[in-house]
């Protein structure tokens, strides 16, 4: 694991990507910090962080696109997978490497509240808890990006898909607001979700029976729930979309609330996608 961690970290600095990422990230944070905190004189660093959650849509794919896709393309995955290392340690090593790079930036941002305190009173507790949440949110995005990268052998495809997915997680809240809320529409929307899920499953497993089976069973359950207990769908669309909205969890930190559930959510997302990436790599052996 350490070997892969070191190799990944070094490769970011052998190419331009590591430097570009850090420079761009710090530039954006710096600009927002200057405008919101220094220029307008708000003493809350969490306001700055809350306004730059979009940063992940642009920058996270830049870091994660090559993680597995490049190995797949150069056939170097063959070296990794025929060496005495487990798939888990490969994935975790890679995630930790990319997270370290990102974590280093977050360490730098830890100085901003201190700078701010030179000019007035700063509530450090809310500032640093928001930095912690922001860091973990980044971890969740990076894990999703790693997972997407493992599905393809083209960096560009990985980057584009990551970009779209990350964009959706940001827009999800807004989308939930405009969708119809009646129960019938809810069933239709969930059917659409189910269809997408089945297509992804089929792409991954190449097994029509399983994908179609899950689709049929899921649809049957939806219809049954609709006929038997329609109240089940009350507000369900907004709820479900809310689960998918990663940035929404940051709102509590914006209001200065230390939201443990939000932190657990971020860690769970990271864990889930790390697990899925390991499965993708293990599955390759059985294809």
């Amino acid at each position: 694991m350490l070997a892969i961690y070191k190799k990944e970290l070094r490769s970011y600095f052998n190419s331009m990507i590591g430097y570009v990422f850090m420079a761009f990230f710090l530039l954006i944070i710096g600009v927002y910090f200057f405008v919101q905190n220094l220029f307008y004189g708000y003493a809350n660093f969490e306001y700055t962080l809350s306004s730059i959650t979009f940063i992940f849509v642009i920058l996270a794919p830049l870091l994660t696109m090559r993680l597995m896709a490049e190995e797949n393309k150069q056939k170097t995955d063959q070296l990794l997978l025929t060496s005495p290392v487990t798939a888990t340690s490969i994935v975790v090593g890679k995630l930790l490497a990319v997270f370290s790079l990102y974590g280093f930036i977050m360490l730098i941002t830890c100085f901003y509240p201190l700078i701010l305190s030179l000019y007035g009173t700063v509530t450090f507790a809310t500032a640093y808890s928001s930095i912690l949440a922001f860091t973990l949110m980044g971890g969740a995005y990076l894990a999703i990006g790693l997972f997407i990268s493992s599905l393809t052998d083209s960096q560009i495809v990985a980057a584009v898909i990551s970009f779209v997915v990350f964009l959706l997680t940001i827009l999800m809240d807004g989308i939930a607001g405009v969708l119809p809320t009646d129960n019938k529409s809810a069933v239709i929307i969930f059917t659409a979700f189910l269809l997408i899920l089945c297509i992804i499953l089929y792409r991954m497993m190449h097994n029509l029976t399983i994908a179609a089976g899950i689709g049929v069973i899921g649809e049957a359950a939806l219809v049954a729930a609709y006929l038997l207990k329609p109240t089940f769908f009350d507000g369900s669309v907004a709820n479900v979309l809310g689960w998918l909205s990663i940035v929404k969890r940051f709102d509590n930190f914006y209001y200065g609330i230390f939201d443990v559930a939000g932190l657990v959510y971020y860690v769970s997302i990271a864990g889930l996608f790390t697990f899925l990436t390991v499965q993708v790599i293990k599955k390759k052996r059985w294809s």
Partner: protein
């Protein structure tokens, strides 16, 4: 590490004979005695492949393949492109899984304990798995790290491996700037790193020039003193130069398994007679007409004026040299050169894989071979889809084959 493995018990002499008895009949047919069981007292099975099958949908890449490799042997997989060599190697190294069957290395099953097995294997895949952005030294250090070479030994081992693969002058160059031959050797260096018990090389000499090919073969021979090596190739010379045992694979099936020198003996030693005589063409042909056992006369291009170059074909196992000599004597035609043609591995290979579309000279040799040879009964004679006779490779062979 190895002492803890189930196979460790095999070292004991009391068990040895029993184990040998068990495996002997499988490895070699009853046609001849065991060729080396007497010489090597310590026969240990390192790899055992049983009924290996790999299917991709309807396509069967490896079809019920079984074989064993003993410690210290060099096994050569020979087969046309798409024969299943790479798939078999990928399964042994644990990169992909088999549909059916089992592979054990040193008594450890690849499917049950992949990490354990991977520790014992160094693998050079078909495309060397290199990171173009790294220097050679960085890459090898990384590979050593992956293979869990202790840090204290790492530096020295990397230098030693670079030395033996002759890439030390390139140590600090980026891999993306290296030529194909050097890349291949870096891949080979990676496979040797950690000096694993089993080294698997998928077409190790592809893309190398003749001098490098000789060097790599020397290296493989050197390695075989302390390691077990499996290499694949579609180049016969390579296999006959370094291997103790050749397995010819076609369409995922084992077609023939033997020592390289026995292969040609098994399939008939004479392919004909090469003759170079001084005299007019008509006189020579008239003289040869009297020899009834000559089935076919083939003219080759004369090197100098007044010299006739011929290849004579005769039935298998017939020795026509004396007759030819006296016939030439009677006609008062001086014989400059006479040489019996041994069947090369190429010919054997083409014969057992049933290749039909090949160069005229080769088909002539093939046509002259009797079809009822006892050894051929186990072979299939389907036509091979892809052409194996890569002219470039063959040229390289003839340069490098005289090891």
């Amino acid at each position: 590490m190895l002492e803890s493995l189930p196979c460790g018990g095999l070292k004991e002499t009391d068990k040895e004979t029993g184990e040998m008895e068990k495996y002997k009949p499988f490895t070699y047919g009853k046609r001849r005695g065991d060729p080396w069981g007497d010489e090597k007292k310590e026969v240990k099975i390192l790899i055992e492949v049983k009924n290996l099958t790999k299917r991709y949908g309807n396509h069967t890449a490896v079809d019920n393949l079984s074989f064993t490799v003993e410690k210290g042997q060099v096994l050569g997989f020979l087969g046309p492109n798409g024969a299943g060599k790479t798939t078999t190697m990928n399964i042994i190294t644990g990169y992909i899984s088999a549909t059916e069957g089992s592979v054990t290395v040193n008594g450890v099953d690849v499917f049950d304990a992949p990490e354990e097995v991977k520790k014992m294997i160094g693998y050079l895949p078909e495309f060397p798995p290199l990171y173009p952005e790294m220097t050679v030294r960085e890459y090898l250090n990384f590979a050593a790290d992956l293979k869990k070479v202790p840090k204290s030994e790492r530096k020295e081992m990397v230098e030693r491996v670079m030395d033996s693969t002759m890439i030390t002058p390139m140590a600090d160059r980026l891999i993306k700037h290296l030529s194909k031959g050097y890349k291949q050797r870096v891949g080979l260096a990676q496979a040797i790193l950690g000096y694993p018990e089993l080294i698997i090389l998928d077409e190790p000499t592809v893309g190398l020039d003749p001098k490098q090919i000789i060097e790599i073969r020397e290296l493989i021979k050197e390695l075989s003193k302390n390691h077990t090596v499996i290499l694949s190739s579609h180049i016969m010379q390579e296999v006959s130069a370094v291997c103790d045992l050749v397995m010819i694979i076609d369409k995922g099936r084992l077609i023939l398994q033997d020592k390289p020198e026995n292969l040609s003996a098994q399939l008939g030693s004479t392919g004909g007679l090469k003759l170079s005589v001084k005299g007019s063409r008509d006189a020579v042909l008239a003289a040869l007409k009297n020899i009834s056992r000559v089935t076919q006369i083939e003219e080759r291009e004369a090197v100098s004026d007044g010299v006739v170059e011929l290849t004579l074909h005769c039935p298998e196992k017939d020795d026509i040299r004396e007759e030819v000599f006296y016939a030439m004597c009677d006609a008062r035609i001086p014989v400059l050169e006479m040489q019996s043609v041994r069947m090369s591995l190429e010919d054997i290979f083409l014969k057992v894989t049933g290749q039909s579309d090949m160069e005229a000279s080769q088909s002539d040799i093939e046509a002259s071979l009797p079809q009822e040879d006892g050894a051929t009964d186990a072979m299939t004679t389907q036509a091979v889809g892809e052409s194996t006779a890569n002219t470039e490779d063959q040229e390289v062979d003839s340069d490098a084959g005289d090891l």
